[in-house]
Amino acid sequence: MTLGKELRVHPIRDGTVIDHINAGQAMNVLKILGITGSSSAVISVAMNVSSKDIEFKDIVKIEGRELKDKEVDKISLISPNATINIIRDFGVAGKHRVKLPEMVESMVRCANPNCISNTNEPVTSKFEVKSDPIRLRCIYCEHVITENIAEHLL
């Protein structure tokens, strides 16, 4: 193991390693997980790490926490190739790639300010999800979000 690799991949006892995050999206992943500068969790972030599968990737390691399904779905929207490694007692207890859901509800705000889902009506936002590239189509106003998806996450 090289010195560089040791520095980047410091093992954790229990928690989650989110790997193969699209380069540049690590901070958005932290935002999805509600991790701010004031949280006490131990977090490691590696950005623009060279990778075999994709040219560069980001990695986020969170100690003492496993992710909820909704958090994983949100991560899939901004980083569809990310992998989730669940770590228990220094070992990988589970590893899976995020899966893009067909529909997301209450996760994304419609980018159309005039959409009925952005009013005081008792409805939650719902989007159909298409892949390659990721497109989110609002089921109400049919507005399609293709860029800067992280900015629209609720």
Partner: protein, 307 residues
């Protein structure tokens, strides 16, 4: 065919067979639409919920219901209803569902009709949702083309505000189901959005675009004009220039195909010279009338009555 679509929300929900079924039902009802009364929908009540101004859509739905022997409930002005007290659309829809057998909704927010359908216990017909959809306008446009020209192998130019105009997006979508050859004519700032052009091509439409109206006039079966709205232009001089370039006068119609028809969803402002009204090509007033048989057909369909 059996038509079991409960709500009329967006043209994208329809198959070509369903559209043909609606158009054929309208053919059967057209004579009645021109005068007379039947009892096909006797005992049924249609609620008209218009949160925005409308002349043609509201009145033609009312006429359609009355010709079919049904009755109409009007929301009236927003100020006279609970809307002014801040009642949500969802609650209004739930309540009006208990007073009526079908609801026509026009609302300024995009997606409002689809949301209303989630809360309604009766069919919802979208009478226009903001800059979103206006399916009954599209259906009457298709009916006009079918009656006055032809839907197969159609060459059509759609002219005007193609960026924001809700009617042209739905119309272009529906025409692409029929494999139409569509030319979009607009100033650069009001061009058809790329995403919609991409969708249309993927569906089999032949699509091209130009800024020059004169270039296409002689090559189309249908000339479909739309209004260019002044508020889209920050600079009034720019607006005046554009409006002048897209105004149809008698001269424009000199070299068109003999059977070319000229349509406009109305209201028109400056884009058609009144001298064109008497031309053999003008169909915009007939087009307005066709809203009645189309809406009669839709009402019989959503209320489950065979024509």
């Amino acid at each position: 065919m059996t038509f079991d679509r409960r709500h009329i929300l967006s043209m994208k929900d329809f198959t070509i067979d369903e559209i043909d079924f609606i158009l054929e039902s309208a053919v059967k009802l057209e004579t009645l639409a021109r005068g007379g009364k039947s009892d096909l929908l006797a005992g049924n009540i249609l609620a008209l919920l218009f949160y925005e101004p409308s002349t043609r859509t509201r009145m033609s739905f009312e006429t359609a219901m009355l010709r079919l022997g049904g009755s109409v409930l009007n929301l009236g002005s927003k100020e006279a209803s609970s809307v002014v007290k801040g009642e949500t659309l969802a609650d209004t829809i739930r309540v009006i569902s208990t007073y009526s057998d079908a609801i026509v909704l026009r609302h300024p927010s995009e997606g409002s009709a689809r949301m209303a359908a989630e809360f309604a216990s009766v069919p919802i017909i979208n009478g226009g949702d903001g800059a979103g959809h206006h399916p009954t306008q599209t259906l009457l446009d298709l009916y006009t083309i079918k009656k006055e020209s032809h839907l197969d192998n159609l060459d059509i130019a759609i002219v005007g505000d193609l960026k924001y105009g809700r009617t042209v997006h739905s119309l272009a979508y529906a025409l692409s189901l029929y494999g139409a050859n569509i030319t979009f004519v607009s100033p650069p700032q009001l061009k058809m959005p790329d995403q919609i052009k991409g969708d249309l091509k993927a569906m089999g439409a032949r699509v091209s675009e130009t800024e020059n109206l004169d270039e296409v006039l002689g090559n189309v079966d249908v000339l479909y004009m739309t209004r260019i709205q002044k508020e889209r232009f920050p600079d009034p001089t720019e607006y005046n220039k554009v409006v002048g370039a897209y105004k149809i006068t008698g001269e424009h119609l000199e070299n068109v195909r003999e059977d070319m028809i000229f349509m406009h969803p109305l209201p028109r402002v400056y884009e058609i010279d009144s001298s064109v009204d008497g031309s053999t090509h003008a169909r915009y007033f007939e087009q307005s009338f066709y809203g009645v048989p189309i809406r009669m057909a839709l009402l019989t369909i959503v209320l489950g009555v065979e024509v």
